[in-house]
Each structure stands twice: as structure tokens, then as C-alpha cells.
């Protein structure tokens, strides 16, 4: 009861709103729909690189996440491994990206039976995450951000999850469905 009252009180405090605005501003930095997805070439194994441009002509899902092994990520990426057949119905490729190094990724992907490339944005650290506006400077990790990129390499949907909230796969599936609908502004 006490907690409820305090929550209401907090919402009504002007200082609080200002702080919220500031944070929303910094968080709104992920690349939005209509922008060209910056290309990258990142290691998926010690001797193999994966480039975004390799997948031109088909939809690509980018899942930036903070770290291998943390419980939330585990749920998120394991879930995506399970939902892969649904993504494949749209001929979509999923690429997961974090700043962990490739050896951590390999062990992580094996342990969680991940059936998609897990890419290391390791050196220079977070440089691709930064290009997508999906990097948290203070903690030095990728943000939990999702992008759906169309067959031409244009971002059609992006989503930044609040801290600690695992986004699930519903937004991705809706975005993939929307790709097949006529685009209102095809001039981008």
C-alpha cells in the first residue's frame, strides 16, 4: 500500500519527469525505421566472418544483447532458437551480437544449442553496436536492441528493451509480417 502511494507521488514530481525525459532522449538513439542498416563484418568463429551484406535479398533480424551467460540473455536467445522455424517462414536470418569474445560465444552457443550465428563485436569493442545506437558506454555492453532489416538492407523495425526486460519474439514476428505488406514510403 505504502509502495503504491509512493509510486504515484513519484510520477507527479516534476524533477522526476525531467529525469525521465533526459533518459528517453539518450535511449532513443537506436537507429529507427527507414534508415540504411550499417554494414559490418564480424567473427562468428575464430576464422570466419559474417557480413550483413551477405544476406542482401532476404530479411535479417539483428539481436544485440548485453552479455553471454547472463540469465536474461539465455532466455532470450534460447527462445529465438526455438522460434527459428517461424523466422525461417519469412526466409529471415537471425544474427545475435554482443561484445563478448568469440570463445565465450562458441561455448555459449553450444551450451544453449543456438542455431544461428553469434557475432563478436569485440575489437574495436562495441564499434558496430555503437553504429546502431545500441551501446551502453557506461557499462561497456551492447544494449538489448532488436532490428528487422528488409531485403534491401533498410531497417524496417527497431526496438530497445528496458533494462532487464527480455523482449521475447512477438515484436520480431509482427515486424516480419509487416515486411510483406506494401510499404507506404518505398522511396527510402
Amino acid at each position: 500500500m505504502r509502495k503504491l502511494e509512493s509510486k504515484g507521488a513519484v510520477r507527479n514530481r516534476p524533477r522526476r519527469l525531467l529525469k525521465t525525459k533526459r533518459i528517453m532522449k539518450t535511449e532513443a538513439s537506436v537507429l529507427g525505421p527507414g534508415k540504411a542498416a550499417p554494414n559490418f563484418s564480424l567473427n562468428s568463429t575464430p576464422d570466419q566472418k559474417v557480413s550483413l551484406n551477405d544476406f542482401r535479398g532476404q530479411p535479417v533480424i539483428l539481436a544485440f544483447y548485453p552479455a553471454d551467460w547472463s540469465p536474461v540473455c539465455t532466455d532470450q536467445l534460447s527462445l529465438y532458437a526455438m522460434v527459428m522455424p517461424e523466422f525461417k517462414k519469412f526466409n529471415a536470418e537471425l544474427l545475435a551480437i554482443s561484445v563478448d569474445n568469440i570463445w565465450s560465444h562458441l561455448a555459449f552457443a553450444k551450451d544453449r544449442k543456438l542455431n544461428f550465428p553469434v557475432l563478436a563485436d569485440f575489437e574495436p569493442k562495441g564499434s558496430i553496436s555503437k553504429k546502431y545506437g545500441a551501446y551502453k558506454e557506461k557499462i561497456g555492453e551492447s544494449a538489448r536492441a532488436l532490428f528487422v532489416i528488409d531485403h534491401k538492407g533498410i531497417i524496417r523495425w527497431s526496438h530497445l528493451s528496458p533494462d532487464g526486460i527480455n523482449p521475447g519474439a512477438d515484436g520480431i514476428l509482427s515486424a516480419l509480417e509487416n515486411l510483406n505488406k506494401p510499404q507506404p514510403s518505398e522511396n527510402s
Binding site: S6, K7, P71, V72, S78, K113, P162, G164, G168, A169
Partner: protein, 206 residues
Amino acid sequence: MSGTTTVARKKTTGKTLLEPTSKETTEKYQAPKLEIPVTLERDHVEGPANAALTLVEYGDYQCPYCGAAYPEVKKVQKELGSELRFVFRNFPLTNMHEHAMNAAETAEAASAQGKFWLMHDFLYEHQATLGDPSVALGYAKRLGLDTQRFEREIAQHTYQKRIREDFMSGVRSGVNGTPTFYVNGVRHDGDAVAKALIQALNQTKK
């Protein structure tokens, strides 16, 4: 006033990293909603059909976190009594849990003979034995089920389609791991413990 804020913050942090850690994000954040409404025809519903409060769980019988949440749900049911109906939907993470699908099929096969909740509870209370189908079969016998039919339906994967439908309905509703709860149709992003669930359920009454 700032004193009470501190109290609230202390209560919500420190337990787990899974919940929203900053109020800034929770204020503009809207949790996903249950896309497939609860229906008495299809769903496993425990509690009065017209209860004011509905708690839906997407769960996996082999998942240790679901096992931990099982007694918490029982506490919630005890506390809220006839105000609450509890709904269980299948979300077997088959890539992680090799016995999860078989366990879900076991519960559905018991459901076909009117004993879903007894089998559901039994499976969660005997998670360690899920690899041995004879344990659930023995229980089915004790329940007086037609075990021939029970075994046949599991072997023929009679209910796998239904289980996969549950799974996809969960995916479309933003299920992001197991267990995932929905409180009156909105995803519960807090802890899967009785206190947090009861609080979330009671809040919907206001």
C-alpha cells in the same frame, strides 16, 4: 516522501536482475498482452470460470524455474481463493529440456480423461523423475485412468499439435522464457513469487 520512495526501491531491487531495474524505463514501458484470450473450451482453468482475477502461466514441466514457481502459484491460489482462476498453457523449451515435450503430452493425455490438474501437479512435484515415463504411468494407474489409451496417446503424439499451438500463442504474446505469467492479460515482468504475483493481481482491482 523521498523516504517512502527509497523503501519502494529497496523492495524492488536486490532480489533478481530479471526485473526492471530503473523506474525511468518502467514508466514508458508497456508490457506485452496476452494475444489469445482464455477460453473455457480450450484452456486448462483452475478456479471459478467467472473469477475477477485471471493468472495465466506459460510453463515447461522440466524447467527448474517453473518448478520453483509451482508452490508460489499454489500460495497465490490459497491467498486469493475464489477470486482467482489459474490457467496453464504449455511452453516446452524442447531445445533445452529433453523431457519437456513428453511431460506436456503426459499432462494433456491425462487431461483427455479429466485429470489434467492432478497430473500437472504430480509432474511438478516429481520433476526429477521426468526421464522415467513409468513414474507418471504409475500415477495414471493410481488415478484410475485408462492407461492403454493414456500410453497410446503419448506414444502417438496425439496432443503435440495442441502443445505447439500453446507455444506459438505464447510467442505471439511475448513469452520470453519460462515461466511467464500474465496478470489479467498483461505480462508480469516482476518476480515469479507469490508476493509479487498477489500484489500484481490485487493492483488490477484498483
